[in-house]
């Protein structure tokens, strides 16, 4: 399996599809096939940079030189882009960069170490804001801990069997401690995806420390040892972790006999999954609890829609092209973003009072303010390419559009 991140998603997806075809994702949205051809002529197609996957690195961290002495992160596609058969075989470096799984058997698990205490510190700085103190969640983000791993007589964690049969009952608790069968997923997830806003910013020692802290918060024991503050997690100890719910998943989908095992499992549905008996008559009391099953009724039925749904199947009449002035067009492109409302603190176009105040300074001054910027207003609305005359025209349009209509 390949791990995607948002940068390699597009490319990664086609690898998983198992095809040798390969979209490089290098097509700038506006370019046509002919532009691509001319672009590829200017770019070398063999990587020149070292293999060094880092933040922002694409294409396995390889950089490609361009003729003007600059570098690009993309390998240009030289194959035909006609039809659907375009793309290319990924380079070895690309595969290496995308195939970054950390597997339960230790494949891909980096060397490193970190203590629960250091992890606590890091967690508080970088994770607690979203995931809550001690990993308890509660801020709308997933909880990372849930210490209750009590098991029933069949070895199933009790809180996983929660069923929301009635209002007020709890849903199954699926946290790292109660649900996740492998710790490798945790360290892998943290390394590649967290902290949310700037993933891949943690060092290997830091990911060990934070993982140790989260495991400790879930009261996981490693090789029979409780993880106290001084506990230092490293690669060797990590491989000894057995998660409480490691055996909670069935059928077993691992190993060379996996396919037969799965077939055998599903062959005996009744025993392995429990098919139940379908109730066709007198089903009011399915659990035989003496209580009638609650039947949910819609309390507030929507009876009509105002205005009523139209049954007319014609397309709406085409509006005649409204001819807009050049000034309005420029306004739409450059200024509307902030001036359509006063949300940004800008005088909203159409707001008579606001523009009355602005215009009081005299048009000359207002135009100079628009050119030079003031407060939250960037010079020329942030578009240096606009000429002073254009700004003047736009401002006049804005003032005109914000006058009292008679």
């Amino acid at each position: 399996m390949f791990k995607f991140d948002h940068k390699s998603m597009l490319v990664g997806a086609s690898v998983v599809a198992g095809t040798a075809l390969f979209l490089t994702g290098c097509l700038p949205s506006s370019s046509s096939a002919s532009e691509i051809k001319s672009a590829s002529a200017k770019v070398s197609t063999t990587g020149v940079g070292p293999y060094d996957p880092k933040m922002g690195a694409l294409d396995g961290g390889v950089t490609y030189s361009r003729e003007n002495g600059q570098y690009t992160a993309y390998r240009y596609n030289e194959q035909s882009t006609k039809g659907v058969d375009h793309g290319r075989v990924p380079t070895a470096n690309e595969l290496k960069a995308w195939d970054m799984d950390i597997m339960p058997d230790g494949t891909g698990l980096p060397e490193g170490e970190g203590s629960v205490e250091d992890g606590d510190e890091l967690y508080e700085e970088q994770c607690a804001a979203c995931h809550g103190e001690f990993g308890a969640g509660g801020h709308g983000y997933p909880a990372l801990s849930g210490g209750n791993q009590e098991k029933d007589e069949n070895g199933v964690i009790k809180t996983l069997k929660n069923q929301r049969l009635e209002p007020g009952m709890d849903a199954p608790k699926r946290t790292v401690g109660t649900y996740w069968p492998q710790a490798s997923t945790l360290i892998w997830y943290i390394r590649d995806a967290m902290p949310y806003a700037h993933p891949k910013s943690l060092t290997n020692n830091e990911i060990y420390a934070i993982t140790a802290y989260i495991l400790a918060a879930n009261e996981i024991e490693i090789d029979g040892v409780e993880m106290d503050d001084e506990y230092v997690l490293n690669r060797e100890k990590f491989l000894k972790i057995k998660m409480p719910n490691a055996d909670g998943f069935y059928p077993n989908i691992d190993g060379p006999t996996a396919i037969e095992d799965i077939r055998a499992f599903f062959a005996d549905r009744a025993k392995n999954i429990g098919s139940g008996t379908r109730c066709m008559t007198d089903c009011k009391d399915p659990g035989m609890t003496g209580k009638e099953a609650t039947v949910m009724k819609i309390g507030y039925e929507i009876k009509d829609v105002v205005p009523a749904y139209s049954m007319v199947r014609d397309l709406p009449p085409e509006l005649e092209d409204k001819v807009i002035s050049k000034a309005e067009k420029l306004y739409n492109e450059n200024c509307k973003l902030c001036h359509a409302s006063d949300n940004m603190g800008a005088p909203a176009v159409g707001d008579v009072d606001a523009w009355y105040e602005v215009a009081k300074q005299g048009n000359e001054k207002v135009i100079i303010n628009a050119i030079e910027g003031m407060g939250g207003m960037p010079p020329k609305g942030g578009n240096e390419d606009l000429t002073n005359t254009e700004i003047k025209k736009i401002v006049e349009f804005m003032i005109d559009s914000s006058k009292k209509k008679h």
Binding site: E117, F134, N148, G168, M169, A217
Partner: protein, 100 residues
């Protein structure tokens, strides 16, 4: 099972404490709905050097695994803070943590 997680950090002579107590905090009504045992913490006391620095009465109105934060004056790194919880069934649990 009412385990606790404690964190205490000294800055100057002020110690900031966070503590979370594992309990479903289920009062009679809630327990009946969820078909679980009635079990909730009724009192939490924190002591430092034998002096009570924090004390609350709690009940099933609190959410599961309640979290408390408070600070007190006069603690030092290396000293200990000790918590005692009592639940509705009279069960007492204690937990200690070194101030960092």
């Amino acid at each position: 099972m009412a385990k606790m997680k404690i964190k205490a950090k000294a800055k100057g002579d002020i110690v900031k404490v966070k503590a979370m107590f594992t309990s479903l905090m289920a009062d009679t009504e809630e327990a009946e709905k969820k078909k679980i045992k009635v079990e909730y913490i009724t009192q939490i006391v924190a002591k430092h050097n034998g002096n009570v620095v924090f004390e609350v009465s709690t009940s099933g109105f609190m959410a599961e695994n309640p979290l408390f934060k408070f600070q007190f004056k006069g603690g030092k790194k290396g000293e200990k803070i000790e918590f005692t919880t009592t639940d509705n069934n009279g069960k007492i649990e204690t937990g200690k943590k070194k101030i960092k």
